[in-house]
């Protein structure tokens, strides 16, 4: 019943092509295996260590997203709630009001709200903040350093090769686990 089907003979080119194909696929398999062995267990995101940041201002100019994914954040429990905020007012501000000529922030991204005498609350308007670190620098030198830079992950596209990290003079950028994506100066849990 069973007629023996004769296997078609391979021509030389077919044989070569078959062998090369198998070689290519095995090479791909080898790369895949090596990659699998060295795979990362946890995903990571880029973040700035505020303790080593020197507020050089390059975050504003080197991010692939514009305005930069790096923004100033405010650690409220550290803030002095000063009436004369060095991060808010430009040096020798004519008067302590929110008029544009008094503000240090080039984009007016800090909101100044009265809480009670003599305390004022300062909030960052993230849509306006460009991460230039002018307020960070001043707050660190003259104030409590409650303003500092962080990569905001709603804006950051988590590039393979963070463009700012390449240019960061103090090497403050690192890839941190995605489940703890911020390096804040205060403990959020203590607020609750």
């Amino acid at each position: 019943m069973t007629d023996k089907v004769e296997k078609p003979k391979l021509t030389r080119m077919e044989f070569l092509s078959l062998t090369m194909g198998r070689l290519a696929v095995s090479a791909l398999g080898a790369v895949g295996m090596l990659g699998w062995l060295r795979r990362r267990k946890k995903n990571t995101v880029w973040q700035i260590d505020p303790m080593t940041c020197v507020s050089c201002g390059q975050c504003a100019t080197h991010c692939v997203v514009s305005p930069s994914a790096v923004k100033c954040v405010q650690s409220y429990p550290i803030c002095g709630y000063c009436r004369l905020c060095f991060g808010y007012f430009t040096p020798n501000a004519p008067e302590l009001t929110s008029a544009a000529e008094n503000q240090l922030c080039p984009t007016g991204a800090i909101e100044r709200l009265f809480v009670e005498d003599p305390y004022w609350e300062y909030n960052i308007i993230e849509d306006a903040c460009v991460g230039c670190a002018k307020c960070v620098e001043a707050c660190e030198v003259f104030g409590n350093a409650s303003f500092y830079l962080q990569v905001r992950h709603d804006v950051c596209v988590n590039c393979n090769d963070c463009s700012i990290a390449r240019h960061c003079p103090s090497d403050s950028f690192s890839q941190v686990p995605a489940d703890e994506p911020y390096i804040l100066k205060h403990d959020q849990e203590l607020l609750a």
Partner: protein
């Protein structure tokens, strides 16, 4: 902590000049306070029952989202394979292409993409400190696996970069074969340089110089946006310029696709050399029949092949040497090398002012010897890698020469498997296609090609073959 204090100190000195004299006292006090790591201004004691607001922490992309992307990629590749190989539907491919452009392009903003993932894989293979995320590894592997089975269906309708170029291709013109061959070396160089720079940790150039990412993000630096606009403008006339003359991933896909078993074919049945498909491929990826054409003597061809084989080691050697010579400019991409060069330059020329890099290095507390040693290591690795990259390119050129001097017997109109994007433009032009089948009912016995025995077609009179071949 120490670094920050030093940094703050120097900044203080700079800023203090700007502030009025009354503040100087405060600065002095502040410095003391900071040295003890105490808040300069005490925590306010609110009497109105004010609560400290929470600092917001917007969440990054979740792992779940990344796995959804992997799933979408798999579904798109499967659908593309089905549409290209089985349905042969240009309309279907086009629709899927538009979806991919929307999803992988504008929604995912061009990240994560298999083209860039080459670098992640290369970086992780050569660096102990970096491990590739599993989803990225899958993004790298999956289109290659599909290419090994179904051809480059990824290019046809899943790749966002391909899609945006394919969508603007309105007035295709042909590029001369020679120019095609010449420019065809660039992707190999780009692939080699990308892998070299990634594996030495110098940089991810493939991502950095992605011309379309600015469009996908609707945001970006003017030079890149202009570059992208230029590519799209050229792409209106010359089909997929990035894919053909730059894309490094296309090389890998081509290596896989060359041996694919189920590849899109121009005709679903049997080629009758009707020449209707001849001009359908805007990328010049159709192999034309060459039977009956005037050929050179076999001996001439063999002798030329022998010459190329003799020159091959020389080409590899010269390429390697050039690669090695190119290592210093490549090293200037590296941050460590840049800082080391700056620090040395400042030392030799005291009039040079510190820039932020040398200043930050001074605050870092690393010794200059360490920095120079680190820079030298990068240079050494690049010099060695330069030999390999250059040698590889020499080999590529030699193979290109060989391919150009060899003529294969080609009986039918067939897609060129390694380069064909499976875009299915040629399918509807074939009279045997389902679209036209009803017109051929009278012929009756057209069968799928795999059911036909290999019959020797009697040699025809030298057919008039188009000027293109």
């Amino acid at each position: 902590m120490g670094k920050r204090l030093r940094a703050a100190g120097s900044v203080a000195a700079r800023l203090a000049l700007r502030w009025s004299g009354t503040l100087c006292v405060l600065v002095a006090l502040g410095s003391v306070a900071l040295a003890q790591d105490v808040m300069r201004f005490p925590k306010p004691e609110f009497i109105t029952g004010y609560d400290f607001p929470r600092t917001t922490e917007p969440a990054p992309t979740t792992t779940l989202q990344q796995w959804i992307d992997v799933l979408v990629l798999f579904l798109c590749l499967s659908l593309a394979s089905y549409l290209a190989v089985k349905k042969r539907s240009r309309k279907g491919i086009f629709a899927l292409m538009m979806f991919s452009l929307a999803y992988f392009g504008f929604y995912k903003q061009g990240c994560v993409c298999p083209i860039g993932s080459i670098q992640n894989v290369a970086f992780s293979l050569f660096n102990e400190t970096y491990a590739v995320p599993l989803t990225t590894l899958i993004f790298f592997m999956m289109p290659l696996i599909f290419a090994a089975v179904f051809g480059r269906v990824f290019c046809s309708s899943v790749c966002a970069l391909g899609a945006i170029q394919d969508a603007v291709l309105l007035f295709p013109v042909n590029v001369p074969k020679r120019i095609n061959h010449l420019l065809g070396v660039i992707p190999y160089a780009y692939l080699g340089a990308g892998v070299l720079l990634a594996s030495t940790g110098t940089g991810f150039i493939i991502c950095r110089y992605d011309p379309f990412i600015g469009f996908f993000r609707m945001n970006g630096n003017a030079p890149y946006l202009l570059l992208g606009a230029g590519f799209l403008l050229v792409g209106v006339f010359i089909g997929r310029p990035y894919c053909r003359y730059l894309c490094p991933y296309g090389i890998l896909l081509g290596w896989m696709s060359r041996f694919s078993k189920w590849h899109l074919s121009i005709t679903p049945t049997k080629c009758v050399q009707c020449r209707l498909c001849e001009d359908s491929c805007p990328f010049d990826h159709i192999d034309m029949p060459n039977e009956g054409l005037d050929r050179e003597e076999r001996e001439t061809g063999v002798r030329r092949l022998g010459h190329i084989l003799l020159v091959l080691p020389l080409l590899v050697g010269i390429g390697g040497w050039i690669g090695n010579q190119l290592a210093p400019p490549l090293a200037s991409f590296d941050h460590t090398v840049l800082v080391a060069e700056r620090v040395l330059a400042e030392q030799q020329d005291p009039t040079l002012e510190q820039n932020i890099y040398s200043e930050a290095f001074g605050q870092e507390g690393r010794s200059q010897e360490e920095l120079i040693a680190a820079a030298d290591l990068v240079r050494e690795r690049l010099a060695f890698g330069g030999w390999i990259l250059g040698g590889f390119l020499g080999l590529v050129v030699a193979f290109k020469l060989m391919k150009m001097s060899m003529v294969r017997n080609q009986r039918d109109y067939e897609v060129n498997k390694p380069t064909c994007y499976s875009c299915a433009r040629c399918c509807p032009t074939c009279p045997s296609d389902e679209l036209h089948m009803p017109n051929f009912v009278a012929l009756g016995d057209l069968q799928p090609v795999h059911q036909l025995d290999r019959v020797e077609v009697p040699k025809q009179e030298p057919a008039e073959v188009s000027a293109k071949s």
